[in-house]
């Protein structure tokens, strides 16, 4: 059987292989996704984001376990940073998910960012499709710990869960500044520790200021390690899903995501195309030098570069 049929038959080895091929920019894998794309769209995609060590993996493990009790098939993609210096990575999210590792209905895959900014790897959206075709009902995507710019997850998730912890101090400022807007649900994890109420209050106060958003995200205190209030958290996620379904926002979101994906893919190919042309006859170096010597301005240089594509 070929890899495509094996994937459709639920073969984990084929599923895993296909994800690797996509990570390695394998054209054959892309052809397979072209053929099977019409089968995607069934899985509900939950983004799990938040600062490093907030408990994203532990919480994902607990949520997945709850959904397994309801007989759902689960996919988990856990992304960790790749070293920009060596290209290597230690992918450690699985450590928190070992009790799921023998569950037939769970597929866990760790991915390195491989130079991609934005908190995900380039192949993440493709891997989501593979797990969707594989038959997962829910796919969790754990991003690398966020600073302020790692917000690519909004482009792929149906619901974004932001995991916070008590006593974040100044960290909460960073969250306010950039990433708060992407959250559809907040989890205050580690609420077995002191200070969870205060953090919840701070978030709620922030949400009060931002009443432009028609949907007000829920803020749920949980303790992943004590397996406490995971049900309540899942309910909040489902509430967001149901809200979107009711209002048509679900379709709007997926349309936006599709637009974004096409443009992102095109942008990438376009850059590659330009670069290929630009290095021919040392063209790029020539205009760079001219700009450096003030013989040419960068705006005209850009136009010359783009003109390469037209002829």
């Amino acid at each position: 059987m070929n890899i495509e049929d094996r994937l459709l038959a639920g073969d984990k080895i084929a599923c895993a292989r296909l994800i690797s091929m996509l990570e390695n920019n394998d054209k054959e894998a892309e052809e397979i996704l072209k053929k099977l794309y019409h089968k995607t769209g069934k899985a509900y995609i939950i983004g799990v984001t938040g600062s490093p060590g907030a408990g994203k993996s532990t919480l994902t493990d607990k949520m997945a376990k709850k959904l397994r009790e309801a007989g759902k098939k689960i996919g988990i993609l856990a992304i960790d940073p790749t070293s920009p210096f060596t290209g290597g990575a230690i992918l450690g999210d699985r450590i928190r998910m070992t009790d799921l590792s023998l569950d037939e209905g769970v597929f866990i895959r760790s991915m390195g960012t491989r130079g991609n900014l934005g908190g995900l790897s380039k192949a993440t959206s493709s891997a989501i499709k593979v797990l969707d075709i594989f038959g997962c009902d829910y796919i969790f995507v754990e991003t690398v710990g966020v600073g302020q710019s790692e917000i690519d997850i909004v482009k792929m998730a149906d619901t974004v869960l932001m995991v916070l912890v008590p006593n974040m101090g100044d960290d909460i400022q960073a969250i306010k500044a950039g990433t708060m807007e992407i959250a559809d649900v907040f989890a205050i994890n580690k609420s077995d520790l002191d200070g969870a109420d205060k953090t919840k209050l701070e978030i709620e106060m922030n949400l009060d200021l931002n009443d432009s958003k028609a949907f007000r995200p829920k803020v749920i205190k949980v303790s992943a390690i004590k397996n406490k209030d995971i049900d309540t958290l899942l309910e909040a996620i489902f509430e967001h899903r149901d809200y979107q379904m009711r209002t048509g926002n679900f379709d709007i979101r997926r349309i936006n995501n599709a637009r974004q994906e096409i443009l992102d893919l095109a942008k990438e190919d376009l850059i590659n195309l330009i670069m290929k042309k630009a290095v021919e006859n040392d063209f790029l170096n020539t205009i760079v030098n001219e700009v450096y010597k003030r013989k040419l301005d960068p705006y005209s240089a850009k136009e010359e570069l783009l003109n390469l594509l037209l002829n």
Partner: protein, 132 residues
Amino acid sequence: MERPIRVLVAKPGLDGHDRGAKVIARALRDAGMEVIYTGLRQTPEQIVEAAIQEDVDVVAMSILSGAHNTLFPKVVNLLRERGVTDRLIVGGGVIPEDDIPFLIQTGVEAIFTPGTSTKDVVEFIKTHVKRQ
């Protein structure tokens, strides 16, 4: 662009000595590999399942407790049962010289004992990895 080699670094059994595994994990990362570290106390079944889902090229196991003669071959055999024969399997830890021929014969391709230089491990993996 060259793809990174993916390696599962696993600690089978009840053995709690994890320094060696962590040293190896870090060295492989620094050599540009993607290392999936699964933490302590993994059963052979868990290791095999993780190796499959992560589609690793190399399964690297560390044991200092003395249980290597049962646990290493078990992982090799479980992988074979699943039809997975194209992965490089290596082991390390406190393992007596006398046990090494048996382990090699069961399908572990190399054993690294205390004092091993991580450079040798990196070199061995790079030259023996089976998949392109």
